[in-house]
Symmetry: none
Subunit: 282 residues, 2 copies
Amino acid sequence: MSLEAAVHIQSLTASNFSTVYNLFSLVIASMLFTALFLFASQRRVAPRYRTAIVISAIVCGIAAYHYFRIFNNFEASYPAGATIDAAHPLSNIEFNEAYRYVDWLLTVPLLLIETVAVMSLPRTESRSLLYKLVPASALMIGLGYPGEIANSTGTRLLWGGLSTLAFLFIVFVMFTELSRSVVRQPVQVQGLIKRLRTALVALWCVYPIAFLFPVFGGSFFGGEGGFVLRQAGYSIADILAKAAFALVIFKIATIRSALEDSAFDLDHEATTAGSAKVRSAA
Amino acid sequence: MSLEAAVHIQSLTASNFSTVYNLFSLVIASMLFTALFLFASQRRVAPRYRTAIVISAIVCGIAAYHYFRIFNNFEASYPAGATIDAAHPLSNIEFNEAYRYVDWLLTVPLLLIETVAVMSLPRTESRSLLYKLVPASALMIGLGYPGEIANSTGTRLLWGGLSTLAFLFIVFVMFTELSRSVVRQPVQVQGLIKRLRTALVALWCVYPIAFLFPVFGGSFFGGEGGFVLRQAGYSIADILAKAAFALVIFKIATIRSALEDSAFDLDHEATTAGSAKVRSAA
């Protein structure tokens, strides 16, 4: 048995290929148009929230760029077989997992910045928080990559374990800080901050689990099934942790803008019984 | 022994190929999204700093364009071997170093303009400074190129040496002018100006060193190892000297805007009236 088989899946059934292919396309559409929505809507929020919104747009844009690359690379790595229903054999072009790591290296620090920006911390406090979190995120991703491309389970676990230390530190600090920030928030956004907190823990945990599939081993997790599930896990977690997360941040920023400056209070929705009006209209 | 071998590396191992490939992709993402961030954020600074911010965005945009070209060219020059792990042989398509020189010819004068713009010089002084620096930058790049594509060490050193005279002149003038400008700056940005000064000297020196690798010669610097290290050096120095540099300039512009015009002082706004309103609404 070749060790390479642990990393390079030798062929994908036609249905597995199209599942991954369609998911990648879904991620591109989600990221690209969330980015465009946020760029186009930054003036809907007060100036002090615009940097957070632009950074959220940039996160989705960077992800869209990398998923374009991943999509094209996937097509080149697993070209169609002789017939429509034939398996797609691995070509001489590697399926390059590095795109994800380069993406995360750029987007995770930005995600942390956009999240800290809605915590309503004094400037010095948010700066000292980011001075801890951003280097930890670089460590987390830099240490994870040698494990991702490792052929042996031991190497994968070693680097994965080191990376997990940084991961746990970030998730713990972010969870604690988001919890502390709830009481500083206007009641209208406290629920959304709690939702960010839940999303952060629930979605971020998808990544180490997907990373571990080859370690679980067996004919499913060690082979084609694990590959497909890992790509699907990373893709769906990316949509939720970047695009959906950014839209919650945008929502928080619009509500706070309306509360703080009547120029942004369209329809008096946020300060009065907006939802009651919607209900009676419906 | 063919002299050509000194310039055209005949093949790259799979791991060297993917290191360079992934670095080029990282540069594209960094440049493209720094450019978009700056375009989207120009209204965060006072009107008098917006030209410097747009020029910084343009520098990153031009670099993104050239790295798209370099990325595609690299793929065409070193196509995959028979298997994923096989070396990538040089094809009939040259790896075109001219893209970098065209890029620098356009971006270095713009980098000088954006840096002079934050020096707080009287208009006539900054104009006369640019009248010296911009032609020197054209000389530096125009003289370097014949050396870069030269097959012989003598030719490389001759043109490289002439180019270095212009290089030293620019670095000396910029270092001196940035130092003189520190005392004219508000205390809040003096540290950032000093950081620009350090970045300018430290990062710009990467270029002549990378240029000299083939001159160092030997099996490493004269061959594949030197090629990979040169591409890596140029790529990382480009990210720092253009994208990271632009973000420091943006930071200087936002701080000075806030100091000079309260409409741009978002922190002050956030810590006083804004948060008071939030608290009372809550």
